[in-house]
């Protein structure tokens, strides 16, 4: 269980003014099936505050043109805003340099970029790549594709029944053929926060680079890539109050410099002849074609919004929601929580005895409660924990304890219907 120590709570400072924050999110005023919307599907995608919506509208209304071409006013404005957003992301992650921030279409795209740009260049037959049982399919399949192409091998870190990585087993997987580690910061299905700093340090002691899939962590806690010392960090905009279709790959400059480009096209070149093309410098080398300019600028506005609230305050509030929901769910007979790691983000996966997750999801929706049901794109986790599927409630800083009460009441209704 995750009961916060009072000392820890005070460290996070004063409580959030959630009611005020909620007024920033127009979608939270919706009613679903005659009930106020309770949006607990934040791990799939978060909602967007008016500040980000306004930023997108302002860009399209007064600033849009293509970037990096043209000397006219709008092109210069759009370029400055797009690159300005890159600077915001640099500060958000505490990267050393702006050029270490590559805009991608999302976490999946970021991981695929590293697979193609780094993996295909440096991984050879017989080499080994370490992943974990917890990984999302998007951090498994690209590496399987690479392993198949190169004749490389995937090694998998096991988990315990609580859904925590067995770090001793992780360390035992290293050998002279280990070339890469790719691991998620926090689990989308179970909530587990992995001890990545320790894992990165161990990999580095063996000279092995590490990619962190931060899709579920970046929206919920302070991420300092210099402190973590990860070589790559990937996340998505739409889980972080930003638009869909935009994400980030942070990479240490020395790694990005050594990587080959993944997509060829305009913007990623310095000069092109049919005899020879000279690639642009990083990060532009990886941003072929016209990028989602509006989405990148919207993401900049989203990290401004989150930073103004404070990631520590967000983390503290979400932990309070998780602890309260965990406690309330403990009082429901026949409900079992899947994923009981000591350190979790605010994700609550569970089973209701005798009721299939899809039936739970459909009936919760009728009460206005939005949750995710299914295998959460982590079939190996489901197989390991021997559950075909779960229902998942995932919280954000704009959720309230009253919404948790509504959710628990709705769950009781589901149980009553099936009793």
């Amino acid at each position: 269980m995750n009961i916060v120590e009072p000392a820890l709570q005070s460290r996070f400072g004063p409580a959030l003014d959630v009611e005020r924050i909620r007024t920033d999110f127009p979608i939270l005023k919706l009613e679903v099936e005659g009930n106020p919307l309770v949006y607990f599907d934040n791990a799939a995608s978060s909602q967007m505050p008016q500040q980000v919506i306004d930023r997108l509208v302002h860009y399209q209304t007064a600033q849009h043109a293509n970037i990096n071409r043209g000397v006219h006013y709008l092109s210069e404005t759009a370029t400055a805003e797009y690159e300005g957003s890159r600077g915001k992301l640099q500060h958000f992650l505490n990267a050393r340099e702006e050029r270490e921030i590559v805009f991608t279409s999302g976490t999946t795209d970021s991981i695929n970029l590293v697979m193609h740009g780094y993996g295909r260049k440096f991984i050879r037959a017989g080499d080994e790549i370490i992943l974990t049982t917890l990984e999302h399919h998007s951090n498994i399949v690209p590496w399987q594709m690479l392993a198949e192409e190169k004749g490389a091998k995937i090694r998998v870190v096991p988990i315990n029944d609580a859904g925590e990585l067995l770090v001793d087993e992780y360390e035992k997987l290293f050998n002279e053929r280990t070339r890469f580690v790719s691991v998620m910061h926090a689990s989308n299905a179970l909530g587990t926060v992995n001890p990545i700093k320790q894992m990165i340090a161990f990999a580095h002691s063996r000279g092995v680079p590490v990619l962190i899939d931060g899709a579920q962590a970046a929206p919920h806690m302070e991420v300092d890539v210099q402190d973590l010392d990860c070589d790559f960090y990937a996340f998505s905009g739409h889980k972080l109050c930003g638009p869909t279709g935009i994400g980030v790959l942070y990479g240490k400059a020395e790694f990005l410099e050594r990587m080959q480009p993944f997509k060829g096209g305009g913007d990623m070149i310095l000069s092109v002849t049919f005899e020879k093309t000279v690639y642009n410098s990083i990060p532009h080398k990886f941003e072929a074609g016209t990028p989602p300019i509006a989405a990148a600028i919207g993401l900049g506005a989203a990290v401004d919004y989150l930073s103004a609230i404070g990631l520590d305050a967000i983390a503290a509030h979400e932990l309070q929601l998780l602890n309260y929901a965990t406690e309330q769910m403990g009082d429901l007979p026949g409900v079992r929580i899947i994923g009981t790691a000591a350190i979790k983000i605010a994700v609550l996966s569970f089973e209701v005895k005798g009721v299939h997750p899809h039936d739970v999801g459909t009936l919760l929706n009728h009460e206005g409660v939005a949750v995710r049901t299914g295998h959460h794109c982590v079939q190996p986790v489901m197989l390991r924990l021997n559950v075909p599927a779960t229902t998942r409630a995932s919280f954000a800083f704009y959720n309230t304890l009253a919404e948790v009460d509504a959710f628990i009441a709705a769950l009781r209704t589901v149980q009553k219907i099936f009793s």
Binding site: A44, D359, C377, I417, F418
Partner: protein, 160 residues
């Protein structure tokens, strides 16, 4: 459509006490249906005497809508001819996607309790899976999927 009424009527009864649940030792036809989007799967076995389905059984792992649909399907097709079963399959599939006009004569009888799934697009596949699987069994296809090419619905369950 209030999903509670969909659940509360016949479906919950069939979910709790599925009819013809189990396996057949003397099956002449058999198929496994699978919904890769949620991992649900269903095994349907038939014994045909000439052109008539004289025995039918199912088992598997699925949600209440799927299990109840399978249970009611077995009671509907048991003792019927292959042609009757094909008619029911077609009518049920059409009803689930809202293509069947329930005001004109049809053969679905109590199966119309599932008409409401047309308003729950992510659940249509749950109701249809048993019928897909029955169709596959009658045609001696041993494995089918809700993602087959003739699948009338392509609504994804969603992504993390």
């Amino acid at each position: 459509m209030n999903p509670k009424s969909l659940y509360q009527e016949v479906i919950l009864d069939h979910n709790k006490k599925p009819r013809n649940y189990g396996t057949l030792d003397n099956a002449t036809h058999h198929a496994v249906g699978h919904n890769p989007l949620c991992g649900d799967h269903l095994d349907i076995a038939l014994h045909l005497e000439g052109d008539r389905i004289d025995q039918v059984a199912f088992h598997g792992e699925s949600c209440a809508i799927c299990k109840a649909s399978a249970s009611m399907m077995t009671t509907a097709v048991k003792g019927r001819t292959r042609a009757d079963a094909e008619t029911l399959i077609q009518e049920f599939r059409d009803m689930a996607v809202g293509k069947l006009n329930l005001d004109v004569p049809h053969h679905l009888g109590r199966l119309t309790v599932f008409a409401g799934v047309r308003d729950l697009p992510t659940r249509v596949k749950c109701a249809i899976l048993p019928w897909h699987t029955l169709h596959a069994a009658l045609h001696s296809v041993t494995a089918t999927s809700t993602e087959a090419e003739d699948d009338p619905m392509h609504a994804a369950i969603g992504d993390a």
